[in-house]
Amino acid sequence: MNFKKLCTPLDHRISRRQWLGGVAGTTAGALGLCQPGLAQELRRRRKQVLFVWLEGGLSQLESWDPKPNTLFGGPFRAIPTTVPGIHISELWPRTAQQMRHLAVIRSLHTQDNNHSSGVGRIQRGDPANRGVTYPYFGSAVANLLGPGESGLPPYIWVKPGSGGFVTSDAGFLGPRYGALALGGGRAPENLLRADSVSEEDDRERLALRQLADRRYVQQRRTQGTEANSYVYDMAAQLQRHAHLFNSTTLPARDLERYGPSEFGRHMLLGRRLLEAGVTFVKVDSHGWDTHGDNFNGHSNAVPKIDQAFSAMMQDLADRSMLDNVLVVLMSEFGRTPRINGHIGRDHWAEGWSLVMAGSGIRRGVVVGRTNALGTFVEGDEHDIGHLFHTWFTALGINPSRTRYNNAGQPLPIAHEDMEPIRALLA
C-alpha cells in the first residue's frame, strides 16, 4: 500500500495564512487532509457536531411538517412556535419554544427507503459511486476536524444497547476514525485501572505496549495496527476523563430537565462530551420504525425526545455553544403519508423533513415545502448530498475544494453534483 499523501492541484490553491499554518503544524497528515493549513484553521475555530439519530424513521407529519385535518394528517394538531408563522406537531411543545434557534428543511427527497441500505447511504452522504466505502458523517468530521485539544476521541456515539469501537463507520478513512460507542451511555468496559495495578505499573505497561506497537508497525504498517494502537491510547486518555461518566455528579436540575428516559440520560452525557471538547457526538434513539400503531408510538416516544432535545438546545444557547456546535436531528427517511391497516406509517423517502441548528446555520427558518397533503415536495427537492455540502460549509469546510486523501486517491467529501442549500446557511 502506498502511504504517500497525494494532493490534486486544486488542493494547493490555499491562502498564504493557511499554508503557513500547515507548515507550522505537522498534524495535517495525521488528519488525512490534503489541506494542512485548513486543518490548522479549523482547529483554531474548534467546530463541533451534535448528531441526534432517531433510528427507524421519525414521521415528518408527526414532527416538522404537520398537515392537521387533512387526508393523511393523522390525529394530532399543529402548534405555533417561537417563530411567527412556523408551526410543528403538538407532540413537540418544548422544541417549539426553541424554534428561534432551529432551521427546518421540509423538501427532502432521498433515494433509499430501506433501512439496511438507507442508513448507510444517508449517514455516508450518498456520494457518487467511486468504488470505495465512504465514511459516516461522524467519521468524516472526525477526520476533517480532528480531535482538538481535549485528548478525547473525536467521534463518540452514545447509544442504547452494546458499545465498543465501531470501525465500520470509518469506511476508507481507516478504522482509527471509527466511533467509540458508549452502549447504554456507560463508560467502556474495564476503562478504569484495577486497584490491584499501581499507577506506575500501569504507566510502564502502557509504555511497553507502545514500544512493541512501534516495532511491529515498522515492519507491517497497516491501518489495523494503527487503529489498535490508537484504541489503547484512547483508553488511556479516557481514563483521565472518567468523571464524564459519573452521573452522580450531575445536577438534579439537569436530570429533571432532560427527563428520566434513557435518551434523556444519553443527551445529558452528550452535553458533557461536547463541553469536554469531543468533536462529534452522536446520540441515538431506537424504536422509530412505526409500521404499526404509529400515532401511539409517536405519542409516547416523541415527548422523551422533545424534552431532552429542547433542554440541550437551551443549554447550548445559554453556553454560547451554538456558534460553534452544529446540531442535526434526523432519521434515515420519513414515513408514508398513507396510513396502513395497522394504523402505522411505512417508509417514505420522497418528501420528508429534519431540523438543524448552530454553527453556520440560519436560525428560525423553514426551507422547502411539501404539497397540501404532505405527499410530495413542491419546488426544489433536496437530497442528503445537499445536506452534507450544507453541513460541511456550516463547519467552515469548503466541500468543493476539500478532498479526502484515500491512499493517494483524492475523493470529494460530498456529492460532486450537489451544492450547499444557501437558504439554510447563516
Binding site: F76, G287, T290, N296, T336, R338, I339, N340, G341
Partner: protein, 382 residues
Amino acid sequence: MKDEKMQSFILHPSSLILFFKVGTMTAQAQAPANRFEPRQGPTVNLDCQLGTVRYSPCGRFLAAGAYDATVRRWEVTDAGFTAMPSLTGHRGWVQALAFHPDRRRLFTADSWGEVRSWTYAERQAPPVRTMAAAHDGWIRDLAISPDGRLLATCGRDQKVRLWSIEDGRKLHELTEHNDDVFSVAFHPDGRSLVSGDLHGNVKQWDVANGRKMREFACRPLFFNAANFEQNVGGVRRLVFDAQGRTLACAGSRARTGGNVQGHPTALLFDWASGQLRHTLVVGDGADGYMYDVAFHATGFLMGVTSGNPGTGKFFFIRPGEQTPFFLSTRMTNCQSLAVHPNGTRLVVAATNAGSNGNGRPLRNGVYAANMSPLHVWDLPAS
C-alpha cells in the same frame, strides 16, 4: 370452501348514493358448525378509514367515526344500509362515539379534544352541543352511563372526566392515571366507571364522588422493548357483560415495538372479587391488537383483531377455552365491531387489502388513501 353470490355496496364519495353490485367471491365460512356461527352478508365500501362503529339503541341506525373528521351514518333497513349525510364539524380523528339511551342523541369525540352531540336520526343534524375543549388533544374513548345522566371521557392528556349530560358541566376530574387513558366503560349498575391506560392500569371509580375504588392489574397488556423509546400496548377496550359480572380488558400482549407484533389478548376479571378469571388469546405473536370486543347474551366473547397489514381476525371465544369456536380471517385489519341490539347482526369495520408498503404505491397514478369496508354478518338468534 365454496363460491357464493355476494352483494356489496359501494358508497359514492358524496356519502349520499349507494351503488349495488353483485359479484362472485370465495367464502371461507363453512356451513354453520355450531348454532352461533355467523354468516357473512354484504360489504359496504367507504372512501375513508374508520375508528369505531356502533348501532343505535333502536337498531335502525349505524354510525362510524372516521379519520377524516366526519361521522358517517346509515339508516338500516331490511333492504340494506342507506347512507345519510355525514356529520361534519370535527377537526381531528373521530375514534370515540356512543349513543345515548334516550334514542335521540349521539355523542362523538375527536383527537383535537372536542366532544359533540347530535340528534342522529335527523337527516340534517347540526350539533346539539359542542364541548370545544373537553380534553387537551386526543380523546380516546367516551361512554354514557346506563341512566343517561353522565358522560365519561378520557384521553391523551391522562385525564378521565365525568360530565353532566344535562348541562355539560364537568362533575369530576379523575387524575390518577400517569399515561394515555385509552378506554372507559360504565358498569351496568351505573355506580362505577372503569378506565384503562397505556401501562395496563385499570381503575374503578365511584361516579358519585369521583374517588378511586380499586384497580385491576392488566400489566400484560403493556410492553416496552429493551432500548426502545416507544411504549406499546394499553387497554384498548373495556366491556362489561350484560349482568355486570365480568369485565373484559382487551389489548395486546405485545412482543415488539415498531411493527408492534403481539398476541391479541383479553383479560376477563370477575367483577365481584376483582380476580383475573380468564386470559383469552386469539392469534399468535405475529398478530396485533384486540381492538374491540362485545359479550354475546349467552356469555361468550366476540371480538376483532388487527395486526401487521393484511392480518385480522373476527372471532367468538368462550371464557375458559383456549381457542375460538368461530374464527374468520377473511377481513383484513379489523378495527371495530358493532352488535345490533337484537343480537342478530354484526358489523365489522376493517381495512382494504394491500394497505401497506414502503415508497410510492400508486393506484391509477394517484397516491391513494386506504379505506375501511364495513362487513356485515348475520348471527343466528340465541
